[in-house]
């Protein structure tokens, strides 16, 4: 199954989803990008360079870790974890970013812009820009700037300019709008590094392509380590890039079930979540450059979303998943904030792993299902990132009293220094 083998006149479409819905002014830029991307994709040397870069700079291949303790504790399937958390900058986001960096070089552009929500994509982009010598501007909702200061701190120290976006809900979707506004102005010398497998074609395909390195490694590693393919593969789904990254390698393996785990937030019926496919609240729409399921009202204006994991808190889902959901190829579940906190604790204590809150959504679903599976069955979870960068969020999520005391003390120290 090659999902990217588009039929005539349907380039960029996955079933009825995808496409390019952008201002006319970007038409030439998107064309140029598409041509360049097609060249890169057709050029084996490009992929070799990409893999070499990821090896020497980001530590790929990331390993697959067998979680014997957790498997034993749950008493069902054997659980394996693909360790994207071990990447440089701490998440899978860097795969896409470094790939687009190489492509940007080929485009001959010297400036990059990006949107970021949780900040991991912005952090990765700022890192890439420092490494490639690009000018870098990161758009981030003002609410996210306030709550994700550590990532902002690093982005700025890496030399990026972080712009706090004051519009709308002041979160990820608004940052995307603002990045697009920059792009329609500065496309001549600027490449827009979109952070997930969303947005107009060719971004969903391109981001998925760079992220496919996850799955191709993982599939081989599972064969080497277990002698066979996993029965189920779990990944969290924000925009869908890490999930596409790991799932793609298994598209032709009909016995491998693929499960995407979305942000259930406060649960079904709460309208405080970001589950576009697992719950029934989303409908098809066109926004931010593409057609997919969005959490929107009946007139097409976007709803507020919520998740403890800022990186999953997005109104739309990648068009490929919208299609694969229709086709029943990928199953979608949701993990609530409460379940996420529990699974995080369990994973830390039994295995010494600290998955990012985003990644923990995949763990939740896997942990629910593993006990119902046979001991000879095998599960693979994509740990898309590490949680230690999210200490403020996790400390808040776990309501850690000592942490709060520490922060209060720190604040007192700063105030004293000022006097």
């Amino acid at each position: 199954m090659d999902i990217f083998d588009f039929s005539d006149g349907r380039e960029g479409y996955y079933g009825e989803y995808g496409g390019v819905f952008l201002p006319e002014i970007l038409h030439a830029t998107i064309e140029e990008l598409l041509v360049c991307f097609r060249e890169c994709k057709a050029d084996p040397k490009f992929w070799q360079d990409y893999v070499a870069l990821m090896q020497s700079y980001s530590g790929r291949p990331t390993p697959v870790t067998h979680l014997e303790n957790l498997s034993r504790k749950l008493g069902g399937a054997q659980i394996y974890v693909k360790r994207e958390d071990l990447n440089h900058t701490g998440s899978h986001k860097v795969n896409n970013v470094m790939g687009q960096g190489l492509l940007c070089q080929r485009l001959g552009k010297r400036k990059v812009i990006a949107e970021t929500g949780a900040g991991q994509h912005g952090f990765a982009t700022a890192t890439m820009a420092a490494r490639f010598g690009f000018d870098c501007k990161i758009y981030m909702g003002a609410v996210d700037v306030a709550r994700q200061r550590p990532n902002v701190f690093w982005m700025e120290n890496l030399g990026a300019e972080v712009v706090a976006v004051q519009d709308g809900q002041k979160t990820l979707k608004d940052a995307i709008n603002e990045a697009m506004r920059d792009w329609v102005t500065n496309m001549a010398d600027t490449h827009y590094i979109l952070g997930t497998a969303c947005g107009p074609h060719p971004f969903p395909e391109m981001v998925s392509w760079f992220q496919s390195i996850i799955g191709f490694e993982a599939r081989e590693q599972m064969l080497a380590q277990t002698g066979r393919l996993p029965d189920r593969v779990y990944a969290c789904v924000g925009g869908g890039s890490n999930a596409m990254g790991i799932f793609q390698a298994f598209f032709d393996d009909d016995n491998v079930e693929l499960i995407g785990s979305e942000a259930g937030g406060q649960g079904v019926g709460s309208y405080m979540h970001a589950a576009r496919l697992a719950y029934d609240d989303a409908t098809v729409g066109v926004a931010q450059g593409f057609k997919t399921y969005f959490l929107q009202n009946e007139e097409g204006n976007m709803n507020e979303t919520h998740s403890v994991a800022a990186g999953l808190d997005y109104i739309g889902v990648n068009p490929i998943f919208a299609h694969l959901h229709d086709k029943g190829k990928v199953r979608f579940e949701a993990a609530t904030d409460i379940e996420v906190k529990e699974a995080l604790r369990l994973t830390m204590r039994t295995e010494g792993l600290i998955p990012a809150l985003e990644s923990t959504h995949a763990f939740v679903t896997a942990i629910k299902e593993a006990p119902t599976m046979g001991k000879d069955e095998i599960i693979l979870i994509n740990q898309s990132g590490r949680g230690d960068k999210d200490i403020f969020t996790i400390a808040d999520a776990l309501d850690d009293a000592k942490w709060k005391t520490f922060i209060n003390g720190k604040a007192d120290q700063y105030r004293a220094e000022n006097n």
Binding site: E24, H27, N301
Partner: protein
């Protein structure tokens, strides 16, 4: 009267038509009506009524804020159509729907065309709907005698302009510069050259927009474009100095 013939009619008396813009429901429909009165007084020929959207990614800060405030105040699509209906009955200028494609998509293209027609609109501008995605909507529009306004831009290749020109009818919106609505455009030879290039690919009237803010821009465009499109400058004037300011603004603009 359909847009094409209406514009042709208007062009008889004037060398440069004017299209103005309001964001429906911002600051309120009452204010909108007052703005339209002023525009009508000044002799504006065409007005785009922007239906607010939550993700106005092709707009600049002023319009972004206007979209947001309007939605916060509870503006619905029905409100916008009803306002259009009232305005179309009351004023001599014609009305276009301006907005993002999702508004259309969610109600269905057929419904959209019917409702627009029923409200007295003669066309629409959907900046995020490329021609590749427009075939069905264009067909429905043609059947209903409504015009899609095609945008031509400084980044469009000749090949692209030909493609855009082929489906253009009534009015083409020439985007004077890169970027979103709102900031000033330095009108210069490149704008004239762009208009020239566009003309080679369309027989429709040519309106030029993005950053038109005063009389000098009008003077500059006269003899080259058919219509000047004024957006942000008018809203800014309204926000800063209200009805009187806006009256003065249009008086000066169209003097």
């Amino acid at each position: 009267m359909a847009l094409q013939s209406f514009l042709a009619e208007r062009k008889k008396d004037k060398d440069l038509l004017v299209m103005a813009h309001v964001v429906c429901g911002y600051p309120s429909f009452e204010a909108n009506m007052q703005e339209l009165e002023i525009m009508a007084e000044a002799g504006v020929d065409l007005v785009e009524l922007q239906f607010p959207f939550s993700e106005p990614s092709a707009d600049g800060p002023l319009f972004v804020n206007a979209n947001e405030q309007s939605l916060k105040a509870g503006t619905t699509v029905e409100d916008c159509f009803e306002f259009m209906r009232q305005a179309s009955e009351r004023f001599p200028f014609q009305l276009l729907m301006m907005g993002y494609y999702n508004t259309v998509f969610k109600m269905g293209e057929e419904t959209f065309v019917k409702r627009l027609k029923a409200a007295g609109g003669v066309g629409y501008i959907l900046p995020d709907l490329p021609v590749e995605e427009s075939a069905n909507l264009h067909r429905l529009s043609e059947e209903a005698g409504i015009e899609p306004i095609i945008l031509m831009t400084p980044t469009s290749s000749d090949k692209r302009l030909a493609q855009l020109g082929a489906v253009s009818r009534g009015l083409v919106y020439v985007v004077a510069r890169k970027g979103v609505t709102g900031s000033k455009t330095n009108m210069g030879d490149d704008v004239l050259a762009l208009i020239e290039r566009c003309r080679q690919h369309t027989d429709a009237q040519i309106g030029v927009g993005f950053g038109i803010s005063g009389k000098e821009d009008m003077d500059f465009l006269r003899g080259s474009a058919d219509m000047a499109i004024v957006g942000t400058a008018a809203l800014k004037t309204w926000e800063e100095s209200g009805a009187d300011g806006l009256r003065k603004f249009f008086a000066e603009l169209m003097a």
